[in-house]
Amino acid sequence: MDDMVRDFSIVGQSIPRVEGFDKVTGRAEFTDDIDLHGMVYAKVYCSPVAHGKIKKVDISKAEKYPGVLAVITGDECPKKYSVNDLLPTETALAVDKVRYFGEGISAVAAISEQIASEAVELIEVEIEELPAVVTAQESAEQTDNLIHQEYPNNTNHTAEQIFGDVDDALVRADVVVEETFYTSMVNGGFLEPQSAVADYDPGKKKMTVYNCNQLAHMLQHTVAKTIDMPLDDIRVIIPNVGGGFGGKTEATPSVLITCLLSRKLGRPVKLTYGRDESIFQNKGRHGCHLTLKLGFNNDGTIEALDLNVLLDGGAHSGWGFVVLWFIAALTHLPYTVQNIRYNGRRVYTNKPSPGAQRSFGGVQARTAVESCFDMAAEKLGINPYELRMINAVETGYKAPSVVEVRHAEFKKCLQSVAERSDFVNKHGKLPRGKGIGLAAGHYSSGGAFLLYNSTRAHSTANIRVDTEAGATVFCGVTDIGQGSTTVMTQVAAEVLGIPVRKVNFICQDTLLAPMDNGTMDSRATYGAGHAVKRAAIDAKQKLLEVAGAHLGIRVEQLECKDERIYSIYDDNRFIGFWDSVTMYQDVIGTCFGTGDYTPPQPRGDYPGKIIGPSPAFGFTAQIAEVDVDLQTGLLKVEKYYEATDCGQAINPASVEGQVEGGVVMGLGQALIEEIVVDRKGRVLNPNFHDYKIPTTMDMPEFDSEIVDAYDPTSAYGGKEVGEAPTGPVCAAVMNAVYDAIGVRITDVPITPEKVFRAMNGQHSRDLELETTTIGFANAKYKGD
């Protein structure tokens, strides 16, 4: 590794968030903080029934309520939409049918939130209730109780992917393990409930939308198509976002409802969801049933992987198509298995629809694979750490899916956690009740599903460097709290050799920023990072030419640092950066630069090839140490080791924050989170009282490390860290619990009752069907 390459000034520094001052003082504006002249408020009538035919919606009393300005129903906008128009099923408000508890049926706009709420109470709705389909297994068997008429067997999508010859490999394998798993339906739990403000200008016939969304341009598209307005008459501005984790990549009905009302009234309309509505809108993680078979040789090399997946899609399509294929891609990597078979099916159920959530497809995949690896390790008599090391990918690995892992320090991650935790000396050797478990994973970085299914650039950055504002970067990627604005600012500042405070980063605005695939699939640092760097270099080049002419030095011999442009051979020969800018302005014109990035086209010729390939991958290895109360089954994760390969950490403190946050989110799913519905599909825990996310008292002791790495294909060597860390957490805990009590729990959340029963010989898999996602309300154990 060339040391010169990594001699950075600003990249690699843990600078505080550039918008941090505003956040700690309460100045930072979020969508619900917005107050526009003449703004009115919307509230929604939410369906009290999970599945039914709408017979009547009587809005007459609501319309007459003093202070109410408009009331709309589904007929206002019956056009179906989805993510990127894939299998559209959703409408702004329910049309003819309701398909999940809490689905919006009608919306009121009034002069105050209080009046709007009171008016909603006056809406009269008659619904002919239909039987609710609440588990994926039941749904898959339905022939006549269809949630969407156009989808037989309630099947949203199926996926099959085959590489090599799995059946043959399984026969040849010395050891085969097989197990069935269930990962739960969880909610993003972002502290900021979804909120939207739409401001229709009746004079210009243009719409401005303010929404906490991760993908400004995709939202713009969805609004344009759904409410039927020209794309370029819509401007999406994204204020600060109070957490997204993938759940704010889709257009929620709140946006469409406010647009429709605003257009009707010719004045701004705001709609902010309550926590219950936020959970009804969900767009969290897919519940998933997985049956996995792994075949190994006696020497520990993996021969075969055979995975069947049934994905619980809730009421709508959303990202479902993509998750289904993504699980396939995330299952065989990060190990070197050649014979792979994947069969997946996504079905609809009458539940709040899942969408994308951090480590999208990764939690499901890692839970199954990492648990089965441990099972195989036991049968083979090989330590689980060793078994990973034998099969871990390295730089240059080409998967059977024709995906190349262009950079990997995965083995370093495994070594790091194993050494720090003394794993090999503890595993299998701790007193009963104490356990240690290993799990690992990866995630794509910079890839992402094409917004336009074309070769259009995924990220574009424009930069203007002038004495009036400094260096102003326009780039469409959204900071949802992960720190992309700070990272991009660091990148631009590094290229130009100017302080961070001289860089203005304008993003999250479709009028100002060029089209961007946005913040999803961990593509900001890698994808937008490239675009920003290229744009900055483009501008820098122009300034170097002027500086070079002034100094009498060739451009190739000049560099930018500390607000100077200087000769690399004699740093006494320099010109001030801003003097160079002035010169450029005076002699040539305003200094602009532009750059963009598109990942390499996916290769190969197999179904699902465009979902999963990525120009880079982030890696993680994790070890959980648990303590089980043998009398009650209460499980505490005492310590958590983690190692990350995120390439060069552009902002190490931000990386650590992503790891810590990602692991705790994973622990939430592993131990305490689940959206619970009853047999009628009614959500039983649509609030933070009963939908429990981790508190300070649920933190493990962290011991994390960023392994030394640098990905030369990335702008400054950096790769993703936003999503990989969440993937293996459930599996790490499952493996640790097995080590602690000798019983393998195969579904999450791992509640104390499950552990208690496991210790007493009753396994979760012996629960009758009703329990999964319905909680223990109907728990029946065989033999009860």
Partner: protein
Amino acid sequence: MYLPRFQYLAPAGEAELASMLAEHGDKARILAGGTDLLVQMKAPGLWPDYLIDIRNVAELSSIEFDDQDGLTVGASAKLENILNTPAVAERYHGLYQAIETIGARQILTMGSMGGNICNASPAADSPPALMSFNAQVTIGSTQGDKEMALEDFIRGNRKTALGVGEYLKSIFLPAPAAKSGSAYHYFRVRGGMEIAMVAAAVYVEADLADKSLKDIKIVLGVVGPTPIRALEAEDMLTGQTPDEDLLAKALGSCAAVSKPIDDFRASAEYRREILKVLVQRAFGEAYTIATS
């Protein structure tokens, strides 16, 4: 999320409070900390015409301890202030433990023990601990005061003995015996901001000579619509020096009298198992304190 509209009254003293309650009857609810009441009012169903805020009724917020008599806590005394009363930590250990778990910091500064009792949630933390100390309550109204045992005051799931026009004035705990110990153990899944899934409060007075139990109270929490005194278990243990077999029988009796529910958080069967563990642990702690 909006609160329904109501009229707000803030009496300056007890007499005014009593007469407002008499006047408005069941159209009024008392507002103390608001951490239960206002949450319930934001959900459909609870819509009182009047909220009577007792924050200015000084008589209801006092906390007094007398070594002979015991502890008197005004209905609106803040949970935090009760925790900061030295006598509570020193003499009513189980109550201290119970109050600590009622909620996070913000709830402890806003909420009151009176509110915790009057809300009468089956999962309330203070009632089982209070009952283990033989707590008595004083109820006020324009008709004068009356007293009753806390266990008679809490009638069912969110039901108390308060009639129209009545309000909780104070809670009285007799002074515990010199050689006594107490504990409150709870079971919950999340580490913070969590209601108990099962709880047990134990008060023990022991004979230092033979370590036998002179007095024992076992109160089972969250396993029925109201806290349950495990009378049979108490009888088994009173006067005895506890050994493993006796304890096991007593625990079995506790499980037998409990009436836990099945819900999505846990099954009834499991809650019974946990109950036994908690009673055992609470007893162990209380007994250790009492015999030290």
